[in-house]
């Protein structure tokens, strides 16, 4: 076994003897690895963001929606997924009897809540008004901090009361903490604040900054009803979805008009699209890496041609053909690894700079670093193998005569 450190030193010295050539051939690898690292990093960031959004929404919640409206209910704009609440279709809303039937018969469902949601702007502030009933408290994991939540009587009597969610936006909107008993004006209607709450789940995905207000659902006259069901546990999601769909099918004369899906399932479809896009862009980046690899192969072939005499000398002094092969292979690997290292650093810097623009979290994962290093070493081996093999097969006598 030869001294690898020595082989690396020899390789490094040979590369440094042709600095310009080495630098130029490095650029191809740097560009390829940079592109791959950016894609991997942004991809990882997107996945993390989606995972977070699923958690914010709630992993044990099902959304019930008309069958044919399913694909239109979410859209992708830029890097964000926007929930389009306005795209519900012509199917009639579920009746109170439908909901009661689900509550009674779906054994894996703990509560079902209808929601009518309306968003608008007031003083440059996004405001979301949720028309809900008492069931929503359980479905959305509402924690009452002060006062109370909406009850059955509020809905029945259409009381003009509201409950305000405490979040970062609220202080700016109310210029301080809102007070129980004070009034809030929404669309020229005045609502008495009866409670301050915190919500654990059903956070609107990818939208953070909004003032969230809950009012009795009976007051909301316009707007499409959405239905959310809380399932006993996460692992019963698909069983519960099946139960809900069957109950609704039997109530709608055997017609399968409604679907129940978790937000995670819906996002999975979007995730698949992101994966395909990542693969396509990744493929293009891989092509650029391939071109870089061909550049390295070219440089190594030139190097073998120039160093024929050195090869002859080494064989005359006792080198085996595999020693010559290893020497040239190590040189190609050093070249590509250096390109890979620089490319990984540059890629991570670019990913760090672009992450806020793309609204994905920046993460330095071992996976990304591993991809960068592995790909560069792999390209080094593949591009160095043929020149190294060629060098190892040279005739030592011919090589010694080489001028």
């Amino acid at each position: 076994m030869r001294d690898f450190r020595e082989l690396i030193t020899i390789g490094f010295n040979n590369l440094m003897a042709h600095r310009l050539r080495t630098t130029l051939s490095l650029i191809g690898i740097i560009v390829g690895i940079t592109a791959i690292v950016i894609i991997a990093s942004v991809g990882e960031g997107s996945k993390l963001k989606i995972r977070k959004e699923i958690k914010k929404w709630g992993t044990d919640i099902l959304r019930i929606f008309p069958e044919q409206q399913h694909k239109e209910s979410f859209s992708v704009r830029g890097s964000e997924m926007i929930l389009r609440a306005s795209s519900y279709g012509s199917l009639p809303s579920l009746t109170e009897k439908d909901l009661v039937s689900i509550r009674r018969n779906a054994s894996n469902v703990s509560s079902v809540a209808p929601v009518i949601k309306s968003s608008f702007q007031s003083n440059k502030q996004n405001i979301t008004v949720w028309g809900v009933d008492k069931e929503f408290q359980d479905v959305a994991g509402i924690e009452v901090l002060q006062g109370r939540f909406i009850n059955e009587r509020d809905v029945k009597m259409k009381y003009k009361i509201c409950v305000v969610e405490i979040n970062s936006e609220i202080y700016r909107f109310f210029k301080g903490m809102p007070k129980i008993g004070s009034y809030l004006s929404l669309n020229s209607m005045s609502f008495k604040i009866v409670g301050l709450v915190k919500r654990k789940t059903l956070q609107t995905p990818f939208i953070d900054k909004s003032v969230e207000v809950y009012i009795p659902i009976s007051i909301m006259e316009k707007g499409q009803r959405e239905y959310y069901a809380k399932v006993d546990s996460e692992d019963k999601l698909s069983r519960a979805a099946h139960e809900i769909e069957s109950i609704l099918q039997s109530r709608k004369l055997g017609k399968k008009l409604y679907k129940a899906r978790s937000f995670g399932q819906i996002l999975k479809m979007q995730n698949r699209i992101i994966k395909i896009v990542t693969l396509v862009i990744g493929g293009i980046a891989f092509l650029s890496l391939l071109v870089g690899g061909i550049g390295i192969m070219n440089v190594m072939l030139v190097s073998v041609g120039e160093r024929k005499r050195e090869i002859g000398i080494r064989i005359a002094l006792g080198a085996l053909r595999k020693d010559i092969l290893l020497q040239f292979l190590i040189e190609a690997i050093i070249l590509c690894s250096a390109g890979g290292f620089i490319g990984t650093i540059v890629g991570l810097i670019i990913a760090w700079v672009t992450a806020p623009i793309l609204r994905v979290p920046f993460i330095i994962s071992w996976k990304v670093a591993f991809i960068g290093v592995t790909f560069s070493v792999l390209v080094g081996i593949l591009s160095g193998l043929y020149p190294a093999f060629k060098a190892s097969r040279l005739d030592p006598i011919e090589s010694l005569r080489y001028e």
């Binding site: 076994m1 030869r2 001294d3 450190r5 020595e6 020899i10 010295n13 040979n14 003897a17 005499r309 050195e310 002859g312 000398i313 080494r314 064989i315 005359a316 002094l317 006792g318 080198a319 085996l320 053909r321 020693d323 030592p396 006598i397 010694l400």
Partner: protein
């Protein structure tokens, strides 16, 4: 017998008939001999030297090195002979340009699997033997022709081989420097090293104790 070639032929398969470089070579070398192989250009001196140095093999006939039939040895065994039993000295020195003299001299030790500290120690001793220790950390292009050849000799003897093969060792040196190199060969021979020099320079040839004259690939005079 250190070296023995019997009825050795070397034919290069160039053209329809091939080129005969060596024919009917019968040649024996004992340990400690000092032999000059001479003859005009194209007579087969270098080819014979390459075969003796296990860089090439005979097309026909038999070459035995220390009793082992070279034609039957594998690549590893041949490389080991070149590395440990034979030292090469070339006309154009053939030092590696990008490493210093100490590292150049240490190359055979590297392929012998020695560690760096031992390599440096032995290489320095070899350089001392040829009076070149003061140039150990210089690059080859900082040395004169004579110094380069001394360094090349140090590299040839660093593994303490049985035999030194030199191909026109003074061909690229002036008379005085060439004479110094030949003096070095004399010393090494006196220490027991077997030396075989290929040259058409009479000054080099007359230093040897035995002369082989090659003509058209055949030995004409011993």
């Amino acid at each position: 017998m250190l070296i023995s070639i019997s009825n050795g032929w070397k034919i290069y398969s160039k053209g329809p008939q091939g080129v005969i470089a060596l024919r009917e070579i019968d040649f024996k070398v004992k340990k400690g001999e000092y032999i000059a192989i001479t003859g005009p250009s194209g007579s087969g001196k270098s080819t014979l030297l390459h075969i003796l140095g296990c860089l090439d093999i005979l097309t026909e006939g038999e070459y035995r090195f220390d009793g082992k039939r070279v034609e039957s040895l594998n690549e590893r065994a041949l490389a080991e002979i070149r590395n440990k039993r034979i030292g090469f000295v070339f006309q154009f020195f053939h030092l590696l340009p990008r490493v210093n003299i100490l590292q150049n001299v240490g190359v055979p030790l590297f392929y012998a699997g020695e560690r760096k500290d031992k390599r440096d120690k032995l290489a320095y001793e070899a350089l001392k033997k040829v009076g070149m220790e003061h140039r150990a950390l210089h690059l080859p292009n900082e040395l004169s022709g004579g110094e380069k050849q001394r360094a090349a000799i140090a590299r040839a003897i660093v593994n303490d081989p049985d035999i030194l093969l030199a191909d026109e060792p003074t061909g690229n040196l002036d008379t005085k420097t060439g004479s110094n190199i030949l003096n070095l060969f004399d010393c090494l021979n006196e220490e027991g090293k077997t030396i075989i020099v290929a040259s058409h320079n009479p000054r080099v040839v007359k230093r040897a104790k035995r002369i082989i004259l090659l003509q058209d690939g055949m030995i004409k005079k011993r």
